[in-house]
Symmetry: C2
Subunit: 165 residues, 2 copies
């Protein structure tokens, strides 16, 4: 089985797939609250209200998968972005592939630190939350509606990969 | 100066002011991701797109105020909710007052734990981020627009309080 090398998560490397949500020096910054707060402003392109849906905040509590982690299924949300921000201050993995027909050779894997969130743009293929080490909570900002907004793809055996951290 | 007693933050006590964002057993829960994730679903009433604005995700990095904390200024956002979720896993303080003309006697103070966020409903008077112990990061979900959406009130000396933790 092919091994997919895990890369560090940077804004540049992740740009084709979405936003990295972090308090970086590259962000637009404002000093507010009488000097007591720095606002790292507007860190993600949120797109969650198509077809009259509402923006929602949820918490995902995810268990780590057994090692080595094998990628067998990917998904995307055609109508909306979906942001994940770690609340447990632990590293986690992010696996994505470009929009469009699923291409196994286009998969990329990133190691996010405990102070980096990600926002998948609408249509970006991604694996579900990949917690590491222990059960971990993520704040999720996504689209709340009753219609169908998740497309899954089950990888053929020849397309599956294990992650090489 | 009057002392305002700090109460524990609970969903019931905070309901007149907004939502408590936490992975509580009272939340609507869904098991997803092939059994690996529990989704604590739709934990806050988000209202951030009035007048064509967009939903945004920002990070606030706030320094603690000197003790004892004195409440001298309050604010509200007429057009939108504003959610704060702690990323530093540290307790913090939340000070609010009911919507409408500011009434100092209506102020309430709550101690939020490091795994509790709050979402202020539009119009709820609140103090800015009150980090405790150390500089702390909060994920903020609010309204991004160029128009004016913040009303401040500077408390008269006779209205000011110190917080009694």
């Amino acid at each position: 089985m092919r091994k997919l090398k895990v890369e560090p998560l940077t804004r540049e490397a992740f740009a084709p797939f979405g936003d990295v949500i972090e308090a970086s020096d590259d962000a637009e910054k404002h000093t507010i609250n009488y000097g007591n707060t720095t606002r790292f402003h507007d860190l993600a392109t949120i797109n969650v209200t198509a077809d009259g849906a509402k923006a929602g905040i949820s918490i995902f509590r995810s268990a780590p998968l057994p090692m080595p982690i094998m990628i067998e299924v990917m998904e995307y949300h055609p109508k909306s972005s979906q942001a994940f921000v770690p609340l447990s201050a632990r590293s986690y993995l992010v696996v994505v592939a470009p929009k469009g027909p699923f291409e196994a050779r286009g998969m990329r894997a990133f190691l996010a630190s405990g102070d980096q969130g990600v926002n998948y743009h609408a249509g970006t293929w991604h694996h579900f939350s990949l917690a590491l080490e222990d059960i971990s909570d993520f704040l999720v900002i996504d689209r709340i509606a009753d219609d169908d907004n998740c497309v899954e793809y089950h990888l053929k055996a020849s397309e599956q990969v294990t992650l090489e951290i």
